[in-house]
């Protein structure tokens, strides 16, 4: 392979970069990938050490500003209600995730048509089904067939995770109210799967890393096969800018590795740096051809930043619920309030994602409730009442795109290589706040129906930017979108974007499954049209 001029250069080895690298390599295309992070070996996860929980507030902190590892870049979120969270490594943020793996609903692709807000995606749920299915097999998804919230899906690759006392308790609450629910689709193996992945042992705290490999990441699911197929993965390689020619074609990426500046050329470049990193790179790539940033003639690069503003509603129960027995993010969910019902006073909807707890330190510090157990004489008593007696219902709302919510380049802040850092500016919208009001009230209702003696609410926690979307959205109209329906930049014919930045709307579900499916669809298009690109 000619590494000097491969067919494709991918920037970012995370959820979508890994998927696309694998897909293109299976077609015999030559691929180089630049990743600013490194491999994280299962032995590096700390969940088998007595002080494992400390990593949540240090080298495994979800906020890169707090974690501050060599691979991380800072994000100024002082003017954002929500902090963007991410992990920089081979596997990207799937190194540091709960692996809850729902798909967008069919309606999520047509919100303009159905509800008169935002814009439609330029493709449908049905267009993505083959890629959802392929991705489910690659990632190794467990779940249960027959979910009434979705059109019939192909058989889940593995049976569902056990619900345990925790999941069964909240299921009774939903049943008592006549509200629908379902066991989670999870990128967590329930049988031995893939290349050495063990079945989940219900050890909880997937977000701090899974030493057994039961929880999927792009590092486990896609990269081994991609590397065998010849993909060249360069780690510790941080891209500063993309260089464009007079023909508006992108020619190369300029990057730092081992303290030195390098340049990597390619026929075609794919950016997969997430909904913050991708606009950062484009906005940092200014030239006389693109004075406002690469591929930004629409002016939309960085705009329409979407998260999933959430509220954690926590119920405390008299009985021991084994609240930390099992994957933290994958108990049951309810999409009962997912679709628009205008009598509620808002459009679109939200999901309930029931989440588990972690270890004793997490409980002492308040867990998802954010209410630390008080110090003093009552401490031990309250700890006993709460630890493993709690049940969390996360209200995850659909975030409508608004241009004032955006990623820009911070005028001062840089990373350790001197590359200008991104700045997030974000406020929670009116529609979302109404949704949160409704969701918090309903979550309280279901917790009480399940038997909770006490319920608390943590509304829009700052550390809630798990899903980064919308900052270079897709569409057919070059004036209203950054990339075309295949992920190809309107302004730069050999540049593709494949991460959460291309999302037109956010849905109200965790987004990795859908962005990976979209990325695989883009890869399929590249393979089919490679000679024309």
């Amino acid at each position: 392979m000619n590494n000097d001029q491969p067919d494709v250069l991918i920037i970012g080895a995370g959820a979508t970069g890994g998927a696309v690298a694998w897909s293109l390599s299976q077609a015999g295309m030559s691929v180089v990938c630049l990743e600013q992070g490194d491999w994280v070996k299962p032995t590096q996860y700390q969940t088998n050490r007595p002080d494992w929980e400390l990593s949540r507030w240090s080298d495994f902190h979800p906020d890169p500003n707090e974690r501050n590892l060599a691979a991380d870049y800072p994000v100024d979120h002082t003017e954002s209600a929500i902090a963007p969270l991410m992990y920089n490594a081979v596997g990207g943020s799937t190194i540091h995730w709960g692996a809850h793996f729902p798909r967008y609903h069919p309606s999520d692709f047509k919100v303009r048509t159905l509800d008169g807000v935002a814009d439609d995606f330029p493709y449908s749920y049905e267009d993505l089904v083959p890629f959802f299915d392929l991705n489910d097999r690659m990632m190794g998804v467990s779940g249960l067939d027959g979910d009434p919230f979705y059109p019939p899906k192909s058989r889940r690759p593995m049976p569902p995770l056990a619900l345990g006392k925790h999941g069964e308790t909240i299921a009774k609450g939903f049943d008592a109210l006549g509200w629908s629910w379902w066991p989670a689709d999870a990128a967590v193996a329930t049988t031995p799967y893939g290349e050495g992945r063990q079945a989940c042992n219900y050890g909880s705290s997937c977000d701090l890393g899974c030493a057994t490999g039961a929880r999927a990441g792009a590092d486990l699911a896609y990269w081994p096969s991609a590397l065998r197929a010849g993909v060249v993965l360069k780690t510790g390689a941080r891209v500063r800018e993309l260089v464009v020619g007079e023909d508006d074609r992108v020619q190369s990426a300029v990057y730092y590795q081992d303290g030195r500046l390098h340049e990597q050329q390619a026929r075609l470049i794919i950016v997969a740096c997430n909904g913050v990193g991708t606009p950062r790179l484009l906005l940092n790539s200014r030239s006389h051809r693109f004075p406002d940033g690469l591929a930004n003639r629409s002016g939309l690069v960085g705009k329409n930043l979407m998260f999933h503003p959430a509220a954690f509603v926590t119920g405390y129960f008299d009985e021991h619920l084994q609240s930390n027995h099992g994957p933290v993010s994958n108990s049951v969910y309810s999409h009962h309030f997912y679709e628009t019902d205008k009598s509620r006073g808002f459009v679109r909807g939200y999901q309930f994602q029931v989440t588990r707890d972690s270890g004793p330190l997490w409980a002492a510090k308040g867990g998802t409730s954010g209410e630390r157990i008080p110090w003093g004489a009552d401490h031990h008593g309250v700890f006993r009442e709460r630890f493993n007696h709690s049940l969390n219902v996360a209200v995850l709302t659909e975030d409508l795109p608004e241009e004032h919510n955006r990623i820009t380049i911070d005028p001062v802040l840089t990373d350790s290589d001197g590359i200008p850092a991104p700045k997030a500016t974000y406020r929670v919208g009116d529609n979302t706040n109404k949704m949160l009001d409704h969701g918090i009230a309903r979550a309280t209702e279901v917790l009480e129906a399940a038997g909770a003696r006490d319920v608390t609410t943590n509304r829009v926690p700052k550390l809630g930017g798990w899903h980064l979307m919308g900052t270079a959205r897709t569409g057919a109209d070059p004036d209203r979108s950054v990339v075309d329906p295949w992920g190809r930049a309107h302004d730069v014919p050999n540049l593709f974007l494949v991460d959460g930045s291309v999302m037109v709307t956010s849905g109200a579900v965790n987004v990795t499954s859908t962005i990976q499916a979209i990325a695989l669809r883009t890869a399929d298009y590249i393979k089919r049209t490679r000679r024309e690109l």
């Binding site: 629908s180 629910w181 379902w182 270890g359």
Partner: protein
């Protein structure tokens, strides 16, 4: 003298820790459990060291202004109230201090052992859980399609 605190500071800190997480019955307080963690962490990290020292100094100042004596000599019955005063005056640093105490206490092997199997490190053993019973979804399965057609 240890690596970070004077003898008097260490003694005061142990006393304070036992007010944050007190000893009750067989359950040890943080004075015995967390002191080593705090001292080691404070010595290793300047920001943590500052939290510990700022808290100790604020306590000393409050003890002097409120009782005219060092914290160690304040009556046991008044010590918690004094710490509440410091917490009200310096909420940010005191909150960080309490977090540090919890960090040290709830990651100590003897505390984890006392809390039982559910508090143990999750890997490599994992936790027991009853297998999935598909009958639990029968009620929902029969409600029919709930997705919105496009």
């Amino acid at each position: 003298m240890g690596n970070f605190l004077t003898k008097i500071q260490r003694s005061t800190l142990v006393d304070v820790l036992d007010r944050i997480i007190p000893r009750t019955g067989e359950t040890p307080g943080a004075g015995k459990i967390a002191i080593e963690y705090l001292e080691t962490t404070a010595a290793a990290s300047s920001s943590t060291g500052r939290v510990v020292l700022d808290t100790l100094m604020a306590i000393d100042v409050a003890a002097g202004s409120g009782h005219g004596k060092p914290f160690a000599d304040v009556a046991d019955s008044a010590k918690v109230s004094l710490l509440r005063v410091v917490e009200d005056q310096y909420p940010a640093v005191f909150s960080e201090f309490v977090d540090l105490v919890y960090d040290g206490y709830y990651t100590d092997p003897s505390v984890i052992e006392r809390l039982g199997p559910d508090a143990e490190t999750p890997q490599p053993r994992g936790f027991p859980i009853a297998p999935f019973d598909p009958r639990i979804v029968e009620k929902v399965r029969h409600i029919g399609p709930r997705y919105r057609s496009t």
